[in-house]
């Protein structure tokens, strides 16, 4: 039992389909009510898609798992209605310190750029995020049917639907769905049921997580030690979470006995060595883990789509697990909606694998590199690692080589088939395939933010002369025209600067707020061609 958090227990309710023995075809079933599955359900509801979520448990995440949430997932959660609660409950931080042996090697500041609604990074225990998402889902009972104690035990794939056997306390019954989103975690059963490959690199190392409650006056910073005197030849991490809970992470090596290591009589001396004998603390949670960096061979198996840890598993260094999982959903839902409505060809769904597998590979690369630095695999890599750390104390040049985790940033889909390649010259980073950066705007005399004012459909964001139109349409797909200076004003000048809009610019922005195309001048024919391309119709 935790002292700072009481796990909610959600009621199991027997569904009408099970009670009556009827098989009703559902548009979408989400498997797994974790951060990713709940976000998927909320995003489906936002797009008007009715969804059933099945979870084999009846509460939120046990223990503290994900900790750090980056700007981009917070922006996505802002659209789903929980970002304010996350930010309010979470701990914002910017400073990180890296120690080598007894000395400070260097410190960094995330130096968040001004003029963004969301902070660069917050820390919060995963169960809070899930609880906020469950509460939000309960506001949409018209579209979201959240079913606890429903375990998928087998499935059969057909051309246009999936049939699944679901086990509840009342026995086994059959469900059907047009589409399934599998968010059932790193040990995904659905992934096994479709016999997908899930391969990559395993690391022969173990890490001990201890969440402790303490009212210590350590600053709200991320402290990372390489080879500290209190834990020789290993690494250690100290990071603050909400409710005066601190996350401590100790590298333990491969030979440690995992059962013995988590016993209080072994954990407490380790923590005392780190925090000092005088620091009072209480143990909140202890567990030991080993990790792998791997991904599924295809994010799509027919009409089953994989997201989050079910699709990719990374090391915890760099906070890339949950952060990238939320972005899977953001990429998927609008595509699914257009395909389900018949507004875009089914091939649009292929771009989900194309774009998110590309992002997963980028995350896996970053995560593997951090792991290689933190747990060197050979004597020579250990020597180079120590050389970098020693040099970084004295010389600025070595600091970019220190890798205690590269913090999660959205991966630009630079090679995506949905992008229209630039034909005009632009400064700045808002190229096709990039996520839109936020900026302060004024709408009808009220301060607001760009991202909150982009359409849920496509947006044509115009700097300069606008055509006398309110939208561009291709079949049922529409791009709402938003003109800077008309629908929204750029009083701070940040929007124009960030989008290189001073000379006039037109951005075609996808429903997930990624740039699909950009030009210097409006051209209806080119806009429609880019809209077709961005929806898989080329």
């Amino acid at each position: 039992m935790l002292k700072t958090f009481t796990w909610p227990e959600y009621p199991y309710v027997q569904s009408d389909d099970q009670k009556n023995g009827t098989i009703e075809r559902r548009p979408v079933i989400v498997v797994g009510a974790g951060l990713i599955g709940l976000s998927a359900a909320l995003d489906c509801a936002r797009h008007g898609i009715p969804v059933v979520i099945l979870d084999d448990n009846n509460t939120v995440s046990i223990g503290s798992r994900a900790v750090c949430y980056a700007k981009r997932p917070l922006e996505i959660w802002d659209r789903l209605g929980i970002a304010d609660k996350m930010v309010k409950k979470g701990i914002s931080w910017n400073v990180g310190k890296v120690f080598f042996k007894e000395d400070l090697a260097y410190e960094f500041d995330l130096l968040p750029e001004e003029g963004h609604k969301m902070p660069a990074m917050i820390n919060l225990q995963q169960y809070y995020g899930e609880e906020f998402l469950v509460n939000e889902a309960k506001k949409h009972t018209d579209l979201i049917d959240l079913r606890w104690k429903h375990k998928v035990i087998s499935l059969t794939q057909h051309d246009d639907h999936t049939s699944l056997q679901v086990e509840t306390p009342d026995g086994v019954f059959t469900m059907e769905c047009d589409w399934m989103i599998a968010c059932d975690g790193a040990n995904s059963m659905v992934r096994d049921m479709v016999s997908a490959e899930f391969t990559g690199q395993f690391f022969q190392d173990r890490f001990l997580i201890a969440d402790v409650i303490m009212k210590a006056d350590f600053p709200t910073e991320r402290w990372f030690w390489f080879d500290p005197t209190f834990h020789k030849n290993q690494s250690a991490l100290l990071h603050k979470q909400s409710d005066d809970v601190w996350r401590l992470d100790f590298q333990m090596g491969w030979d440690v006995d995992p059962k013995a290591a988590t016993k209080p009589e072994n954990v407490i001396p380790l923590i005392k060595a780190m925090l000092g004998n005088d620091t009072e603390f209480e143990l909140e949670w202890v567990s030991i883990y080993q990790f792998a960096c791997r991904r599924i061979d295809n994010f799509r198996y027919g009409r089953i789509l994989f997201a989050g840890d079910a699709a990719h598993q990374v090391s915890p260094f760099g906070a890339r697990g949950a952060n990238t999982g939320i972005q899977d959903i953001d990429n998927l839902t609008w595509k699914l909606k257009m395909v389900m409505d018949g507004d875009a060809p089914e091939s649009l769904i292929e771009s989900y694998d194309e774009e998110r597998a590309f992002a997963a590979d980028d995350n896996l690369l970053n995560s593997t590199r951090s792991t290689d630095f933190i747990t060197p695999k050979s004597k020579s890599s250990r020597i180079f690692r120590d050389a970098v750390l020693e040099l970084s104390k004295k010389y600025e040049f070595a600091r970019p080589l220190v890798n205690s985790g590269r913090l999660s940033l959205p991966t630009p889909y630079v090679t995506s088939s949905l992008n229209t390649v630039d034909e005009d010259a632009f400064d700045g980073g808002m190229a096709p395939g990039r996520n839109c950066v936020d900026a302060p705007v004024v709408v009808a005399g009220t301060d607001g933010w760009l991202l909150n004012n982009l359409s849920d459909d496509f947006t044509l964001l115009i700097f300069g002369d606008a055509p006398p139109l309110s939208e561009i349409k291709l079949g049922n797909i529409r791009a709402q025209i938003i003109t800077v200076g008309a629908q929204l004003e750029d009083k701070a000048g940040m929007l124009t600067a960030r989008y290189d809009g001073a000379e006039g610019a037109i951005y075609l922005i996808r429903p997930d707020h990624y740039v699909a195309a950009r030009w210097r001048k409006f051209d209806e024919r080119k806009t429609i061609a880019a809209l077709a391309r961005a929806t898989g119709q080329n």
């Binding site: 020579s380 020597i383 120590d386 050389a387 020693e390 040099l391 010389y395 040049f397 070595a398």
Partner: protein
């Protein structure tokens, strides 16, 4: 610019002796650490990724 593989070191005998003298009384582990630091310092001085890649390839030949 390509990797320079023609003679470029001033007073080669003096340089070589200086390197060996400096490591003469060091423990093997310290020598390896010093060599690693030296590679990193020189790599930063060069900076150019293509040149560094070519140098690494040539060294491994």
């Amino acid at each position: 610019m390509a990797l320079n593989l023609t003679r470029n070191i001033d007073r080669p005998d003096d340089f070589y002796q200086e390197l060996l003298d400096m490591q003469r009384d060091m423990e093997e582990d310290d020598v390896q650490l010093m060599n690693a630091k030296l590679i990193l310092i020189l790599s930063n001085h060069i900076g150019d990724h293509d040149i560094l890649s070519e140098a690494m390839r040539r060294a491994k030949e």
